[in-house]
């Protein structure tokens, strides 16, 4: 299952010139506002017609301006979840959910009402009107409504952007389940490092209408310099880990990663579960000798593989810890004081409490990895 987009489009002064191809389970279109990601997703959905170019989903040509092909939105079988939910106000939640089923040919229906309702935990809402739902509930119903059309591809346009932190935390696990438990590929628009690092298998980074990076999440997220300015602080290494065991005495969970054991606050996950963590670069300290008498619990040995100038007086240091790269943001003064250079042996130090709900999430399930 691949999504191929190769388009050029002009909107007044803004020009969008994008080419990418992704076979990921959840591909994030990532970039600051105004980078063209929503326009792009609207083109995949069929809401906007590109000036020139080609869009293919799973080998099916949806747009080919050269050949005069433009499949209208209602024939694309692509589900869309909008930032503002867009539930129909004159229908109950149940009717909203059933709306798309009418239009899906019976032979192509794979989504079951009961399964979707269970997946999203919206059973108690079925008889209500959209006006009586909270923002998070609306968004879950909107996801369910799109799923029940049995789409070939699910598009999500900043589905969490208008929600507060608590609501985001409420919905994120459902999107993870969607990614891991259904076979529907997802294209997800976001400007948030936290969401992309936690959810995406693949990332396409956009800036001013152009692709500036694309590839697997771990690799793309290494490039802190490509992050939108307002999201720089959130940037950091993304590691896939596994729950080794729980430390019930101190209320911690020990995760196994290529870089070594990482202790984080207690997670509600079973031993062996996959966990995706993001270690913010600003949360990482560097020591040239193994520190003692230090409160931080995570001390990962490694080798410096990259040093690049960061914002202002900072530098960003990449440390290869047994194959996994950890990023640290330190001051130029510290770098010179410690005489850090490429190839130097160092220790990356991370406090356990720097991990919170925003940067630990369910990892990709094992079966679906292949």
């Amino acid at each position: 299952m691949t999504v191929l987009v190769d388009i050029s489009h002009r909107l007044g002064d803004f020009s969008l010139d994008v080419r990418f191809e992704s076979a990921g389970r959840l591909t994030a279109l990532f970039g600051p506002s105004g980078s063209g990601k929503t326009t792009l997703i609207d083109m995949i959905a069929g809401l906007i017609r590109p000036d020139t170019g080609r869009i293919e989903v799973d080998g099916r040509v949806l747009v080919d301006t050269g050949a005069g092909i433009f499949v209208p939105k209602h024939k694309r079988r692509i589900g869309m979840v909008f930032q503002d939910a867009r539930l129909f106000p004159h229908m109950s939640v149940a009717s909203n959910l059933r709306y798309g089923r009418w239009f899906t040919p019976a032979t192509e229906r794979y989504a079951e009402m009961d399964a979707v309702v269970e997946l999203l935990g919206i059973g108690p809402l079925l008889d209500r009107r959209p006006a009586r739902l909270s923002g998070g509930e609306k968004q879950r119903v909107a996801i369910g409504r799109a799923l029940l059309t049995s789409p070939r591809l699910l598009l999500m346009d900043e589905p969490l952007a208008s929600l507060d932190e608590a609501r985001k935390a409420e919905i994120l696990p459902y999107i993870e389940r969607l990614r891991d438990e259904t076979k529907i590929p997802i294209v997800y628009v976001s400007h948030s490092v936290a969401e992309v690092a936690r959810l995406a298998t693949d990332v396409v980074t956009l800036s001013q209408g152009h692709v500036i990076a694309s590839g697997p999440t771990e690799a793309v997220m290494q490039r802190l310099d490509l992050l939108p300015a307002e999201e720089r602080a959130e940037g950091g290494a993304v590691l896939d880990t596994k729950v080794l065991h729980h430390d019930e005495i101190f209320g911690m969970t020990v995760l196994g990663s290529a870089a070594g054991e990482i202790r984080v606050p207690r997670l509600a996950m079973t031993t062996g579960a996959r966990v995706r963590i993001r270690i913010r670069a600003r949360d990482v300290m560097i020591a040239t000798e193994k520190p003692t008498g230090l409160s931080a619990l995570n001390i990962l040995p490694g080798t410096i593989v990259a040093i690049s100038p960061g914002e202002g007086a900072t530098v960003e240091v990449g440390i290869d810890c047994n194959g996994a790269t950890v990023l640290a943001r330190i001051t130029e003064q510290s770098r010179q004081g410690l005489k850090l250079r490429l190839g130097g042996k160092v220790f990356a130090v991370v406090k356990t409490v720097s991990f919170d709900r925003a940067n630990t999430g369910a990892g990709l399930s094992v079966e679906a990895d292949g």
Binding site: L47, K73, H74, I78, G79, M80, R86, Y99, F103, A131
Partner: protein, 234 residues
Amino acid sequence: MNWLLDLTPDEWNAVRLSIKVATVAMLASLPPGILIALLLARGQFWGKTLVNGLVHLPLILPPVVTGYLLLLTFGKRGPAGAFLAEHFGIVFSFRWTGAALACGVMGFPLMVRAIRLSIEAVDRKMEAAAGTLGANPYWVFATITLPLILPGLIAGAILAFAKAMGEFGATITFVSNIPNETQTLPSAIYTFTQVPGGDEGALRLTLISIVISMAALVASEVLARRVGRRMDIE
């Protein structure tokens, strides 16, 4: 009370005829009303201002002029009248159908205005969302647009009905004032005021006219509220 309800057969006929004419005028103008309102609210075409002006013409012309124009066009010798009579057997002149046509034309601008406003208030993003769920444009209109404009539709229909109940000038010019055929309530009241001793009858019909119009207004309020509650827009 007996005095009020003790109507002569002719007066009863005028009441019945008025309700019939107003109902038919309202129902028959709904489909073209929705179509024109859609065209004006959504359409981008050359001559839109002209269409808008034509629709509003009956509102600004003296009713007698509208009636006379109808007579010229839909009368027995008028081009449209002759055509319809010959091919479809529909005759307007001096029939109750003509009264309905006159009332429909006079109420049309009011109806189109109300519907157009409600169409312009519809969130087009809802329609786009329905499209991504697989609904073609016709289904989108039937399942999203139409229900969302229902309050405006009701308001427009009631306005047209009320206008038809009170229409006088165009009707009497186009189809005259024939008891049992084209004599609606206003025409009947007018006739009473033209004969000595007709005051009582005129007053009776005036009161009945007020009651019917009020009933229509109340009905529309109740309907609109029920639709509004069902919809509960945020």
